[in-house]
């Protein structure tokens, strides 16, 4: 069921091509702004690029997740979807899956552009960290997007609700990317040792929390 919902969303995006080009442009523009705002050079570029990566990712995520439920709300099709046998939890999971896929596509633009524009070293560790964080951010982001879509001020509420809840991903992911980009091995980090394992734990934890909560958010 969840897969059917995700397939529907992605098919719509592939046919309409609305969100993805806009997101890709947003990512490139954000990098250009970062380049001038931080006045990047050979020394500061690699040092600041982990921070830039997370800033761009978080805000691109807000846009992507916000649209997932806003489009349904605008065409009034969310009620119709709730009438199908899919059920709130699988609608929610499908939406999260589809918007996670969108954000991954966005990262496929972001990481190479960072390598080109800022000279950031992109390694397997960086990609793995970003992908793991995307999963958890998508689950939580879609939960709050579904919630915010039902209120009068969804564009305003989504960042206010999602950003503080994403802090753990930025804390752990930020540290891991910083280490990976400066050439440290992830295993050398204090305690955490395995930020990837911690991120995966967060993913599972929030997936459980969000799918439990989905019933109360979507059920009207």
């Amino acid at each position: 069921m969840a897969l059917a919902v995700a397939r529907k969303d992605l098919r719509g995006e592939l046919r309409g091509r609305e969100l993805l080009p806009a997101l890709a442009q947003f990512v490139v523009l954000a990098l250009i702004i970062a380049n001038f705002a931080f006045d990047l050079d050979l020394v500061s570029g690699p040092r600041l690029s982990p921070g830039i990566l997370w800033l761009v990712l978080v805000f691109a995520g807000l846009v992507a997740f916000g649209r997932a439920f806003a489009t349904e709300k605008e065409s009034g099709s969310l009620e119709a979807m709730l009438l199908t046998p899919a059920g709130p939890a699988s609608i929610f999971a499908g939406k999260a899956l589809a918007s996670a896929a969108l954000l991954v596509a966005c990262e496929a633009v972001l990481l190479p552009s960072m390598a080109v524009f800022l000279g950031s070293p992109i390694s397997v560790a960086v990609v793995a960290t970003v992908l793991l964080a995307t999963g958890g951010m998508a689950t939580l982001g879609c939960l709050f997007a579904a919630l915010a879509a039902q209120t009068r001020a969804r564009e305003l509420l989504l960042p206010v609700l999602a950003l503080p809840i994403w802090v753990p991903f930025v804390v752990v992911g930020g540290r891991a990317v910083q280490a990976a980009m400066t050439g440290q091995s992830l295993a050398a980090l204090p305690l955490s040792g395995q930020p990837l394992v911690i991120l995966a734990d967060f993913d599972i934890l929030f997936l459980v929390v969000a799918s439990l909560a989905a019933r109360f958010v979507l059920d009207d």
């Binding site: 609700l161 802090v167 753990p168 804390v171 752990v172 955490s192």
Partner: protein
């Protein structure tokens, strides 16, 4: 005794408790040898933080009860506790800043430690909670959505805490519940206990007052709806 009178009595007791706590803090407790008078902030700072956490625990309990049973009272309790919790979080923050100015001297690597970060997240989450209440359609929908935000937000706090702690932290370690007994002289411990009880009583009083206000507001709305229904049902009106 009417409900209002009961609230007056409760308020008076809470105020008296705070005065006693002030006496304990400034007259009874000994001066800290290293930090000097600045250390006296600790009594109110930690108590406020505990009161704030207690309030947010009430929000979670009210939210869970609401989602489970759908009772309006538990939602009203959550609503009242969220506002009071936000006040006490702000209080704990401001006092922490006043303490941190001479002790940590605003070093950003120190100010963003685990406890500060997780409390900041808590503050933002419950500010968002109140915003959801404002922007959602009033009534059942607002209650349902707010309950979800309150519960998920609270669950996030320990995670934020530990993720920063594993990263790096400089907050003073455990003092009261330190392994091997409290690391405080008995006078300080007594002053702290009295202050904590007084602050918890104050927080409880504020929640009770707030609950009363919310109950009145709900009753007012009910009356307005009932009056309109009556008007619509009366003969001669269209």
């Amino acid at each position: 005794m009417t409900e209002n009178r009961r609230l007056y009595v409760l308020t008076a007791v809470a105020l008296g408790g705070m005065l006693v706590a002030a006496g304990m803090i400034f007259l009874y407790a000994p001066q800290d040898a290293l930090q000097g008078p600045v250390q006296r902030i600790f009594y109110l700072h930690v108590s406020s933080a505990i009161a704030a956490y207690a309030c947010f625990a009430l929000v979670v309990a009210g939210g869970v009860a609401y989602l489970w049973k759908g009772s309006l009272r538990s939602d009203r309790l959550a609503r009242a506790a969220a506002a009071v919790g936000l006040v006490f979080t702000t209080n704990a923050f401001v006092m922490g800043m006043i303490w941190a100015k001479p002790i940590w001297n605003w070093d950003p690597s120190k100010t963003w430690d685990a406890r500060v970060t997780s409390t900041a997240v808590l503050w933002v989450v419950y500010a968002g909670y109140l915003l959801v209440r404002r922007f959602a359609t009033p009534g059942r929908q607002a209650m349902r959505l707010a309950a979800v935000v309150g519960i998920v937000g609270f669950a996030d706090v320990p995670i934020v805490h530990f993720s920063v702690q594993w990263w790096r932290t400089l907050h003073p370690g455990r003092v009261i519940d330190a392994p091997g007994g409290p690391a405080l002289p008995p006078e300080m411990l007594l002053a702290f206990m009295v202050t904590m009880l007084a602050v918890l009583l104050l927080a409880g009083t504020l929640v009770a007052v707030r609950y009363r206000i919310e109950a009145r507001r709900d009753a007012l709305e009910e009356r307005a709806v009932a009056a309109q229904l009556k008007l619509a049902a009366s003969p001669g009106s269209r």
